[in-house]
Symmetry: D3
Subunit: 211 residues, 6 copies
């Protein structure tokens, strides 16, 4: 799993969130930081800046049996797939596909309003808009969302709007670093909540183990 931003604390959090599937005798899951990444990935320019470094990292790695790109815009997904024959998973793609296995229509909780247009373009590219209920922002900075005490409270509020006003019956957390809120959010909303990182890792484990 590659964290495309250069913040090692984020990478450590990702690793911690994956503990439940670090099975004895299961596949080894290594979380690495992209040295060339920006401190956070928020703008289209941030995304574009990591695509080539990600594809180089993937091409240079000789040990992984599969890769996960841990940013909810799936930066560089297609160039990485061009760079290797091994499977490459993007967490946005995996998260949304997994949501489709849990509810008829999915909603997405974005961190910032500015990302929604980009996410919608991507959903259109994946041809998944017919099952899309809506996407709403927390209107927090990534830093606030990561550390803030009321992140969960805001997620619950936005999730309820997705459920009650937009008709979502499954919700995707549209950010890589929210895993620790998944369970509480699901309990509060009463509908499945998908953490995209966990979704991608689950798919990757299956792909690797059944080879």
């Amino acid at each position: 799993m590659v964290n495309p931003n250069s913040n090692p604390q984020v990478t450590r959090n990702l690793a911690e969130a994956l503990q439940p599937v670090m099975f004895e005798a299961g596949p080894e899951i290594e979380c690495v930081t992209l040295a060339e990444g920006p401190l956070g990935v928020q703008t289209q320019a941030d995304l574009e800046s990591v695509t080539i470094p990600l594809s180089r990292l993937v091409a240079a790695d000789n040990s992984a049996h599969a890769f996960v790109i841990a940013c909810y815009s799936d930066p560089g997904l297609h160039v990485c797939r061009e760079a290797t024959q091994r499977p490459v998973f993007g967490i946005a793609e995996s998260g949304v596909l997994t949501a489709l296995s849990r509810g008829d229509r999915f909603g997405v909780i974005a961190v910032a309003q500015g990302s929604i247009g980009r996410h919608l373009r991507y959903l259109r590219q994946m041809c998944l808009m017919d099952r899309f209920a809506g996407e709403r922002p927390l209107n927090m900075s990534v830093a606030e969302a990561a550390s803030g005490d009321d992140t969960l409270a805001r997620m619950i509020k936005v999730g309820r709007q997705l459920k009650d006003e937009d008709g979502a019956n499954a919700v995707v957390m549209g950010c890589a670093g929210m895993s620790r809120h998944r369970s509480a959010l699901e309990d509060a909303l009463g509908i499945p909540v998908i953490d995209p990182t966990q979704a991608a890792v689950s798919m990757a484990i299956g792909t690797v183990m059944f080879q």
Copy 2:
């Protein structure tokens, strides 16, 4: 995992195919046979005959944290979801969604021509036709497909048509009992091949372990 037909040999094969993810300290995966099921599930009537028994089985079970229905028409999926709060996965749904994480357009290998219309209706219900390349039959009976020596050869032939003529860049094996051919078929075709049973189990493991 519930095998909706009443053939215990099929159930044993399913269990065997899941060995790679029966991790030490991982979730226990139990494969059960639906006593009320027909010997094979092929017609619409076969499917309809198992929906209520499946929902009863799901409602009566107090131990499983998630269910997988192991038939590539996802019989009773929605009535089972009505019968429990726990996640229920259908292998057709999981297989196709997983294929979308591996290629732009997916093809499906059906056992019999007669199932294709039903599968297409289901793909339309899931709103996934925009990524669909085609579905082609082996034109074998389920029994032949299960035991026949040339099953793999036929799958390779049909898979190549899906790839070369229909433009598929990922292929789903449209039957519950073909897991053992997945790897060889993938090698022969040079594009990802998805076993739907393994796909559903991977999603189920993730859902259960990250709870």
Copy 3:
């Protein structure tokens, strides 16, 4: 015409609503009750419970030239079509298709909120969502809707929301037993109102008479 619930009063009401097309020299229309049906069909489990009995009834009947399944979820439609070469009409399908001949976008009045998700899945399967304006519930029980004095008043209220807020220019009454309100509702809304039972019977008469 088969009433999939076992309430003979509902069957009698259906027969009465069809009087206007019981032409001298026209086709005979027989309304029968499905003995095995539940008292009302509301949940997914109710629906699944009647599919096999319906297909048996259809297969065993030697006199009808066409069949109509009189429940607005079209239970067992495809298994009945598998069971006979004669035409089988579902009232939901016929009702929505007929609405498309009367307005650009159709709305649906459901009896209960709980049916809407199921109806949407079915509209998606029929690929008719692009002409769908919305579906709104009366929030009454089927019993209340059948007998209650203010059923029409609620239908008018909900129909106006479909027209004014959702942009529907034709409305389908999403239940088998509302025929007697069709005309008054149409007058009140000022846009075409489709009774699905009447729509299906009209299609069935044409199919039979032009054979």
Copy 4:
């Protein structure tokens, strides 16, 4: 029922084809010829030339409870609907919608190649392409198709291509004057064949009688 071309023989044929639903005590069905119509309606210009005359005829008529425009391009359908509050049916629209009640995917037999582009635009406008299998021409003139001895033979040939190569499981005869071949064509193809004139009249009868 209005025949938009000025050939009274065509109008007489239409009337004859409707005999089976001219029930004692049923609605009166009057077939009229549009005096201003061209001898045949084939080009876009032919179509445009009848729209205003059709709307005048509809507006001037005080006796009909519903109208059917009997040309498989539905000329003037929307301007006629603007000209009256009474229902106006187009045979193309009714024919295709009725086909959707008989099969998952429909094919269309056109008389001439030159009409297919126009028909496709109309199918797109109706948002029904997701259920469309294909349209193929007889490559005959309307006159040949009307009188020629091998019209049925050609329709069978084209119908088989729609079924076997395009995957249609219902076929619409894409012309107003082919009713007499419907039954034989259906027998030959083994799948439902829809005559659009009969389909529209069936819908119109239901609409009028249930008022």
Copy 5:
């Protein structure tokens, strides 16, 4: 450029609005009035009344290298294309396509509520609804919109609703005679505003000059 209504003042305004692209050595742009046109084009009947006259005008003209039909319902577009081999542009089609090059989702400002249904049918025919954010009316008569002092103010109000409530990030002015407000409206909204007449003329110039 043909003004399909018979108001020569409208034609003079169109010509004036095109001054910026009447380049020295560029193509000559001639604006003509359709003599047979109604004073304004608002109803479906108005539209239908000009289709044949437009096609005659196009067929009879020997000098133009391309045609633009200057009415935001593209009356007669297809019959004109049948009448000539030279390119024919409709301003609605050109306007919407140009909007798609400026924003992910477009909104439309209609003059009157009564036109919106017709515009939506046309957008469906063009298969462009997946990028459509919404259409809202000024609720003014064409005469008011043309002359009224508060036309711009109302356009800004409606444009803001399209942007803020419907999610449009580009707006099309859904009328031929609003060019002079384009720039001010764009400044007020902060997103691209497309004048459909200018869009069509730009496409026409390119087509003619690059021949």
Copy 6:
């Protein structure tokens, strides 16, 4: 107009192809070479490598009123739009949209098979697949296509397949450097042929001149 590859000969060719719209008193069109670009843009990696350099070029330029990215994969289109308030046109987007104004269904001539998957993803993102007839490759290298004597002959052959087998009634040349063949190809095929560079420049001129 920015040529994203670093080959100045390509840039000179682009400039030459735009002579017909370099009007006296019209907008100045400057063609520049992206210094950081690869010699040709063919792979996904080539594309990704120019996105950030393109956005820097756009952000640093103070004189242009609009930008055109002259590569038929529209590399960096969205990051460039983030980098400036001025309009940025991609030639693929402009070419396809312009084709939609000339025919019901468009085909694309690609240089190489390897680009088609990427182009399809982009068409899906733009939601334009419903009007897409097909894309077929010349199976030449870009160098061959640029200089080879039989480029036109191959384009005619592929264009005829798009027209006759895939049903295209307009064709887009899927490469920046084929302008000089447009007219001859159009004559040979008998349907409109769109050069995407010219299409984008036409839209850009309109946008700039009408400001």
